[in-house]
Amino acid sequence: MGQVLTLKRRQNLIGWLFIVPASVLIFIFYFYPIVRAALLSFQTGVGVNLQYAGLFNYQRLLADNVLKTSITNVFIFLIIQVPVMLTLALILASLLNDPNLKFRGFFRTALFLPCATSLVSYAIVFRSLFALDGLVNFVLTSLNIVERPINWIGNPWTARALIIIALTWRWTGYNMVFYLAGLQNIDRSIYEAALIDGASGFTRFTRITVPLLKPIILLTSIMSTNGTLQLFDETMNLTNGGPANATLSVSQYIYRLSFQYSPRFGYAAAISFVIFVMVAVLSFIQMRVGDTR
């Protein structure tokens, strides 16, 4: 009996040895830095010459108009882009879910392909397509749809529209894959019964597909919200935050404060804490809303 116990204990100990390296690394590279960021947010100074300053950074933050602009921008992207993209992904997924659909494999691969591109590379492709002398303007002017080329990245609302178009292009297929996987778990006979009862395609979509996929819709909306709040690569390379900060994201503002101007690590850390709180709160709200509905 005693021997069995020591054997169990030995195995238990080995189990701990297996998980210790990974766990220690997560503590060092996630939990320690977030604590450091919290402490930094109470300090001011340039570079690494920092001193304690109480709530100074947080007071400054409340009066910072650039920060307000960047938060507004991110929420504009969030409110317009996420619902459009998720609706589109849902429609595409429910169309592709039909087993009799021709070219199904082709459609799936084609719609999923944008996920294989890095955020920087597709941002540059879209920047070139929508440049003043780019293909989109060439087509629009050739077809006489517009008289003069549109300066997409030069006007606040067209620049925002461009970010939204690009984000939708990159992430619709990604979300569609989640919905396709979810649809596979829905019993086909439910649809057949609805068809016999004379339910239209639209009714089947809103009464069967959407309610049954609710947990996955919730998951994808949390992921998209999270991603949009942390937007960086696209605004940096597609519009560079311009014009006049109209597409500046919060992450890019933090980057500017820390690495482009004289480094204000303390103040940047205070803002990064705001992102952290926003991500946490929004995920929490979405989870609660999803539960009660």
């Binding site: 238990n12 998980i19 392909l113 591109t117 890095s118 590379s121 540059i124 060439f138 894959v177 940096m236």
Partner: protein, 270 residues
């Protein structure tokens, strides 16, 4: 009947339009890489003969070979380190399950809530203090261990038959031996999935190298193509060649292993 037929036609038109819009930017990118900047601007959509000329210009003005090599080295190092560290941890959490380890796992999962932007400044200061700026080690360290991968391997260890472990123990195999010689070969597909996700994330990572790779010699592909558009005049043929080269490895992986790739994306759902 006619209405249903019309709906059917509309469905295919919609799907083909969506598929075309999805592919077109990438097709245009690849075609433009073979055309001169003037051709690109004047809307040429057919492959041209400027590929070599574009490559010559790109290689003359930017160190594309070095950036490719750095990107490969960093991404491979990140993938290898992650797979070893996270898979052994995931296996440990599941096979030697007890309340203490379960509690630790729950805490580790909280790390997924932390946005990178919130910790990049402390990370940068840490790496700087360790004297690791511009190194592969600095690139790899923050992403070696992720709660996502540990969780993925823990889930796959759930399907690992306990009989195999018991039999191997009776034969006198060590616990580490069981992991390496039994679990790893059986779970090959999980490793492929995890490997694809990790490699792609590392290959495409932009913000972290932007901060820590400050010397010319440590440049990686995302930084290089980002630099391509920095000037006032853009040479579209050359830029699109650079972008094409930067997406080539990930697009090839995608086309060859599409199902594993989808599996990797979906694993955050379980």
């Amino acid at each position: 009947m006619i209405r249903r037929r019309l709906a059917n036609v509309f469905k295919y038109v919609f799907l083909f339009a969506a598929a075309l819009l999805s592919i077109f930017p990438l097709l245009w990118m690849a075609v433009s890489a073979t055309n001169s900047s003037v051709d690109v601007v004047t809307g040429r959509l057919l492959p041209g003969t400027y590929l070599l000329e574009n490559f010559r210009k790109l290689a003359e003005t930017h160190n594309i070979g070095l950036a490719m090599w750095n990107s490969f080295r960093n991404a491979l190092a990140a993938t290898a380190a992650s797979l070893v560290v996270c898979s052994i941890a995931g296996y440990g959490f599941e096979i030697y399950y007890d309340k203490g380890k379960d509690f630790l796992m729950r805490i580790l999962l909280l790390s997924m809530m932390i946005p990178f932007a919130a910790i990049m400044i402390p990370l940068f200061m840490m790496v700087g203090k360790m004297g690791l700026l511009n190194t592969t080690t600095a690139f790899v360290l923050p992403t070696v261990s992720t709660a996502f991968l540990i969780f993925l391997f823990r889930q796959s260890a759930r399907y690992f038959p306990p009989d195999i472990i018991e039999a191997a123990r009776l034969e006198g195999m060590s616990e580490l031996g069981i992991f390496f010689r039994m679990y790893v070969p059986i779970m090959r597909s999980t490793y492929v999935t995890a490997g694809i996700i990790t490699f792609m994330n590392a290959w495409n990572n932009y913000l972290w190298p932007l901060i820590i790779m400050q010397s010319k010699d440590s440049i990686v592909m995302p930084l290089l193509i980002s630099n391509l558009i920095a000037g006032y005049v853009t040479d579209y043929g050359m830029v699109m060649l650079g972008v094409t080269l930067s997406v080539l490895p990930t697009v090839i992986i995608f086309l060859l292993l599409q199902n594993s790739f989808a599996e990797g994306i979906l694993s955050s759902m379980r």
